[in-house]
Symmetry: C2
Subunit: 233 residues, 2 copies
Amino acid sequence: MSEQKRTGFQEVRDEVLQRIEDRVWPQGALLPTELELAAEFGCARATVNRALRELAERGIIDRKRKSGTRVAVTPVKQAKLDIAVMRKQVEEMNATYRYALVKRQQITAPAWLSSQLSLPADAQVLHLHCMHYADNRPLQFEERWINIAAVPEVVEADFESVGPNEWLLAEVPFSNAEIAFSAVAASDQLAEFLTCTTNTPLFQMERTTWFQQQPVTFVRMTFHPGYRMSTRY
Amino acid sequence: MSEQKRTGFQEVRDEVLQRIEDRVWPQGALLPTELELAAEFGCARATVNRALRELAERGIIDRKRKSGTRVAVTPVKQAKLDIAVMRKQVEEMNATYRYALVKRQQITAPAWLSSQLSLPADAQVLHLHCMHYADNRPLQFEERWINIAAVPEVVEADFESVGPNEWLLAEVPFSNAEIAFSAVAASDQLAEFLTCTTNTPLFQMERTTWFQQQPVTFVRMTFHPGYRMSTRY
DNA sequence: CAGTGGTCTAGACCACCAG
DNA sequence: TGGTGGTCTAGACCACTGG
């Protein structure tokens, strides 16, 4: 007696994925309809739908009404990067995290920043320099500008003990952002804070953040020499 | 009562998200149960479930059986990077793509590579150097090693006209990979191919790829000076 | 043990779009 | 215009886990 297989949506999803990997359904091939698959797997159509929807979200298959479901021709690989707070990252490595405020200054936004954040010409911003350490070794230099109009409470924060990232995350959670990665040569200032020689190649991450269409902050984070950011997909 | 609103799962999802942003439910707060929300929105529990599941996947809320659904305290920001084929990327910028094979050589895997890919000591690999151009300006230098045992057909490919990335994508689609980003100083070779001076900081991406538990390829892609990789989330 | 989310079902209607 | 996926429903049972 063939034992009843548990027909969860995960089984369906994995089996379909397996068939695609095994070229049972090669690239561009048309898959059976949801109804047909439901019959084959002995489950409801909703179950098949859930399974195929997940594969579609991963870019494995393309779905279109009427025309059906096809194996993606050029699978767009999607790498997910988990951007966490520095403190968390350090603590996950079983290292001791330390934060230090280097500079805190309220200024009128320079022209390039007003342009970057779509701010009025005379907008007031808080300009910060911070350092993050892991086991007392320099990990990241952070230069940040915060739009005071968007977060008026920020003028009360001294950022001596809590970093601006964590403060903002608590104050303005669930914001949208644009992020960019690049390689830069260490300036004299960066070299000093990250204890390396001038012109050393450094990994840099820039991020612009909005909350409900309003620009909140722009931050430039530069990592110590040799830093690698990695992920799986 | 108030007019029946269209209660799609998207409406529920967006409304819940709005309330979280508006601090109706602050960080750490316990949300109503699915049944309660279903009653409030006048829809089935499955609809609420779908809505909340999507928010949970985005890291906005944490869900646990019995204890219920809570607003995430430290929302883990997930940035999605779309890793596409170079040719596609260039064509999307309305630039002319050009590819060139620099070197193609079959060798015994060096020790570091055997270690990196978990290969036997005498494994044969194909070692490639390639260049990618946009509008005839150097865009990326690619150094790649392919595990011949995993893809025997690769010895027949000459890679003169089609790059190894596209070839592998067609031959071994839907593989798993580990990816790492870093900043490096231009070696003499890199400086020559990317037309920059030695020690220029360059953005580099390394990727190890497996297909069904078997190591397939390791590739090191170095971009032209000033390259930025960006995304939204 | 009991409350909550996780999943499945059988059926239904709708939206889109290729023929 | 009919076929296909997209979604919703009302109900059910299960799995996990806090009290």
